[in-house]
């Protein structure tokens, strides 16, 4: 269990260390702090979006030890000592990842609000399965809602990325 201090209202505040996009960060949080809020409010990584806060829309998707999760359904305290990849960590230095490049080429986004989660889910799929079928792509992003694109160009972008990994 992480070490904690008790504040004047008697609430425990825990020190956690998370590795985000390759760097360690130590923050003092409450037991009910959500991962999405830790990323956005404490680390200023606002690429991870806050949408429904119920696990329905998927726009807060990040990788936790390589697996895609809804950051609104994960407690930050459970991430102590673990590795997180957010949308800001998908690219390699100044080079965009192939998934990002193909989203651009196919216009796999419009308003862009679901895009960080969509790209993280897509990248997580390709890490596990480098040559997915169209159905597997659709299944992998079924938890990421997009109201703008009808998913048509997103699916095309992910399949094209897979071919060019």
């Amino acid at each position: 269990m992480s070490s904690f201090v008790v504040d004047k209202d008697g609430i425990k505040r825990y020190a956690v260390t998370v590795n985000v996009n390759g760097s360690d960060y130590t923050k003092v949080i409450k037991a009910n702090t959500l991962l999405v809020n830790l990323l956005r409010d404490d680390l200023d990584l606002t690429g991870t979006k806050r949408g429904c806060e119920l696990g329905d829309c998927g726009c807060c998707t990040v990788m936790l030890d390589g697996n895609p999760v809804n950051a609104c359904l994960v407690l930050a305290i459970d991430c102590d000592g673990r590795e997180i990849t957010t949308i800001e960590g998908i690219q390699d230095g100044e080079d965009l990842d192939i998934v990002q490049e193909k989203f651009i080429e196919h216009a796999g986004f419009q308003c862009g609000f679901c895009t960080p989660g969509m790209i993280v889910s897509s990248r997580a799929l390709l890490n596990e399965n480098p040559s997915p079928t169209e159905y597997e792509v659709r299944e992998a992003i079924a938890g990421n809602l997009c109201r703008c694109t009808g998913y048509v160009n997103i699916v095309a972008a992910v399949l094209d990325a897979a071919e060019n990994l």
Binding site: D56, H106, A107, R147, G150
Partner: protein, 781 residues
């Protein structure tokens, strides 16, 4: 008429590509300011009642709470989107009108404290009886929601062109059908957010909205501010679809709370609150009567429509007019009667959603006309071809239609989909259906009364010519307007698109535009930036002419020139200025622009657009008149499980008559998204309320069922090569909303073809299909 262009017609990448794919694109809720406070609205917990008291004393004592405001702390002037029906206050004054209505606002040092404070605020009500359907609202003795709307009747329209009764009497076949639509919701993924701060007597507001101008106008009017004292800005907007056109309680509250506290305040809706903010599609109760001759030619049509409006008007008057005003654009109907009523009820207000008032009436008509055709033995596409409008014509209501190729769209969709081989020939459970639609390309009038141009644009060339700033407050809510506006400005200037940059989303720094609604921006803001670009080009050619002459490279009488070199002898393409008859004699745009800056200062181009006087003189003609109309045909193929009622949309085709396509990649994206919303509304989507309390039941994406990637069928998006609209810059017209309007009809007609039972109530859920099939079996037909 079409030319070779450098950028128009090219699928260039979106200008926001890097930011949106890397997580660096900022949205309003991502903003942080030093000393920023967080705020939320206090909402009604009953559907209808008088506010007896509001006790904020416990909440005020909570450590970290900075301010709490209610109606007594804010101006009482009413607002709305349509001057004829301003009926909404910043916060409820005397009574609340729906479960979730705005009562006040709280701000505190962090989110958690805001939520704690909200729980400590006690509102006492004298509860009043409430109505949740238009049928109950219209009953004699029903509770009155507004004094100004006796009988809860908010809007009434009676249009009558020609003589419907006489024409029906002479008809070969007359048929009446009834349809029911449902309440749907835009379901953008980014919740509304606002952030405001003050500097002396100047306020600055960031709003996740579809029109910085309308937000600025309405706030200033209600708050008694000069428009020059309120700057409205925006970052990226996480889509809108009509739901972010009305100013929200957040916009008002953020400005007021930041004034009171002297600190920046950020406000936001959580997900359920965006549903409570409402403004989605009206449920419509529709009755259609059509008389045809024996070939299927429509002789007369009667449309009776009732809208359940929710608690306030918002854009509801326009929704009501749109329900009936565009049918006569699609089809040639000499005798047309449109009767419409909109009632207020104790539910969140309805308003504009992609396609505005039109998609449900399109669903009803497109299915109805198939039933008419079936009765007289005419194929659905033939029914549409017989009655389709042609270009360069004037509608019965007086609207002028220039380019219009609905006939071509139907034929192309028929051929691409394999209609002739499939229709009625695929066996039980499989069906194919067609639907038509289209939309205005911008409304003919401002929402409030003004003589301002609708769009103003500007281009400024950077000092040394290495960048072109394109100014327009057109709002990119995801549709890609920034990209296509820069493509058009670059084309007009002859300057590289890649070196253009938008200056937008700021009422101080950029130029007036009414914003993203009525599919207006590509045409209206397009004209403004095209004209601005053309002015820059004119100045560049004049300066280049001067430079070439001074350089001694051009001599009078030099072979290809009759007299002295003039600017008309020059052209500029992709950043190179050259003599048209001797392209080797050239200068770069950059060097010419730099010289211009040295000699005259800033190199500027200005443009503006006003649609001028458009057609239609009847009351309400303002809603429906437009400089240009798109048309579209969609065909859908579905598989219905005859045991369970499950519907799978298998394949779809869309042909959109959209004039010149500025960016094909973005164009097709609009069609995909429009179809997506349409098919969701046809089969799955419906906002639901508790029938006794009016409380929202499914304000989340688990129970408000958006289609996922697994539900979405492929969409083959096709275009008509010869489509060219003379009233649009480069010959363009709309796509964004028109492509939603045929979908419900096409899918419903395919379902009918598959199972032989007519489904007249949206959404056509699996359960409704299962029940209909069971009833059909039981009746033995």
């Amino acid at each position: 008429m079409k030319q070779d262009y450098s950028y128009v017609g090219k699928s260039v990448d979106r200008n926001d590509s890097y930011g949106k794919t890397t997580g660096h694109a900022q949205y309003t809720a991502d903003l942080k300011f030093p000393g920023m406070l967080y705020g939320k609205l206090i909402r009604s917990t009953i559907a209808h009642g008088r506010i007896k008291s509001i006790d904020t004393s416990e909440a005020e004592k909570l450590n970290g709470v900075k301010a709490i405001i209610t109606a007594k702390d804010v101006p009482s002037m009413k607002w709305g989107l349509s001057p004829a029906r301003f009926d909404e206050n910043i916060f409820c004054i005397d009574k609340v009108r729906y479960h979730g209505d705005k009562i006040g606002a709280v701000c505190a040092v962090d989110e958690e404290t805001v939520y704690k404070a909200l729980k400590l605020i006690k509102v006492e009500y004298e509860e009043l009886p409430a109505v949740f359907t238009w049928q109950d609202a219209a009953k004699e003795g029903a509770p009155q929601i507004f004094e100004e709307y006796p009988g809860n009747l908010n809007t009434e329209i009676h249009h009558h062109f020609g003589d419907v009764d006489a024409a029906l009497k002479d008809a070969y076949y007359v048929r009446t059908d009834k349809f029911q639509g449902q309440r749907t919701y835009h379901a953008f993924i980014e919740n509304h957010a606002s952030a405001a701060y003050w500097d002396g007597d100047r306020a600055f507001l960031y709003s996740s909205c579809q029109s910085v101008h309308y937000v600025q106008y309405h706030l200033c009017r209600v708050l008694g501010m000069k428009m020059g004292n309120l700057t409205v800005r925006q970052t990226n907007v996480g889509a809108g679809f009509g739901g972010k056109l009305d100013p929200t309680g957040l916009d008002f509250a953020a400005v007021i709370l930041s004034k009171i506290t002297g600190q920046p305040v950020k406000m936001w809706y959580d997900h359920a609150e965006t549903f409570l903010n409402g403004r989605g599609r009206h449920p419509m109760t529709m009755e259609l009567t059509t008389g045809v001759d024996k070939n299927g030619k429509i002789l007369a049509h009667k449309f009776d429509c009732v809208l359940e409006g929710g608690a306030y008007t918002g854009l509801g008057i326009a929704s009501s007019y749109y329900a009936g005003s565009l049918l006569g654009v699609l089809y040639l109907i000499d005798n047309y009667k449109f009767d419409c009523r909109r009632y207020v009820t104790n539910l969140p207000p309805c308003g504009a959603q992609r396609g505005h008032g039109q998609p449900q009436p399109r669903f009803a008509f497109e299915h109805h006309i198939d039933l008419v055709g079936e009765a007289i033995g005419v194929d659905p596409i033939d029914m549409r071809l017989i009655n389709a409008r042609k270009g360069n014509s004037i509608t019965t209501a007086g609207y002028e239609v220039k380019s219009y190729n609905l006939v071509g769209a139907n034929k192309m969709a028929r051929d691409a989909s394999g209609w002739t081989e499939k229709r009625g020939k695929m066996g039980v459970g499989r069906g194919i259906g067609v639907g038509n639609g289209g939309f205005v390309t911008g409304a003919g009038f401002c929402q409030y009364r003004t003589d301002y141009p609708h769009s103003v644009g500007m281009v400024k060339i950077f000092d040394d010519g290495t960048r072109a700033y394109v100014y327009s407050n057109a709002v990119d809510i995801g549709q890609g307007s920034d990209t296509v506006l820069m493509q058009m400005a670059a084309e007009a200037m002859g300057y590289p698109y890649e070196r253009c940059q938008m200056v937008t989303g700021d009422t101080d720094l950029s130029t007036l535009d009414f914003g993203a609604y009525a599919s207006r921006q590509t045409l209206m803001a397009g004209w403004a930036v095209k004209r601005a670009g053309a002015e820059v080009k004119k100045k560049v050619l004049a300066k280049a002419c001067e430079m070439l002459k001074a350089s001694g490279r051009i001599k009078e009488g030099f072979g290809y020139l009759d007299g002295p070199l003039t600017p008309e002898d020059l052209d500029c393409v992709e950043g190179i200025v050259f003599v048209k008859q001797e392209p080797a004699v050239k200068l770069t745009f950059e060097e010419v622009a730099r010289k211009y800056f040295v000699d005259h200062g800033v190199l500027l181009g200005r443009g503006w657009y006003h649609p001028g006087k458009l057609g239609g003189n009847h009351k309400g003609a303002a809603v429906g008149t437009s400089p240009a109309y798109s048309s579209a045909t969609q065909v859908a193929e579905v598989q219905v499980d005859m045991e369970t009622g499950q519907i799978e949309c298998v394949d779809t085709w869309d042909v959109h008559d959209s004039g010149t396509i500025i960016n094909p990649k973005l164009f097709h994206g609009q069609v995909h998204g429009a179809f997506y919303m349409g098919v969701g509304e046809t089969i799955w989507e419906e906002v639901k309320f508790d029938k006794k309390t009016g409380k929202l039941l499914n304000g989340n994406f688990a129970e408000y069922r958006l289609p996922t990637a697994l539900d979405m069928p492929p969409v083959e998006s096709l275009t008509l090569d010869d489509s060219y609209e003379p009233n649009g810059p480069y010959g363009l017209k709309e796509v964004g909303e028109g492509a939603t309007t045929p979908t419900m009809g096409a899918v419903a007609n395919a379902i009918y073809d598959a199972m032989g039972v007519s489904m007249t109530e949206l959404p056509i859920t699996y359960e409704k299909v299962w029940r209909a099939l069971r009833d059909k079996k039981a009746s033995g037909k």
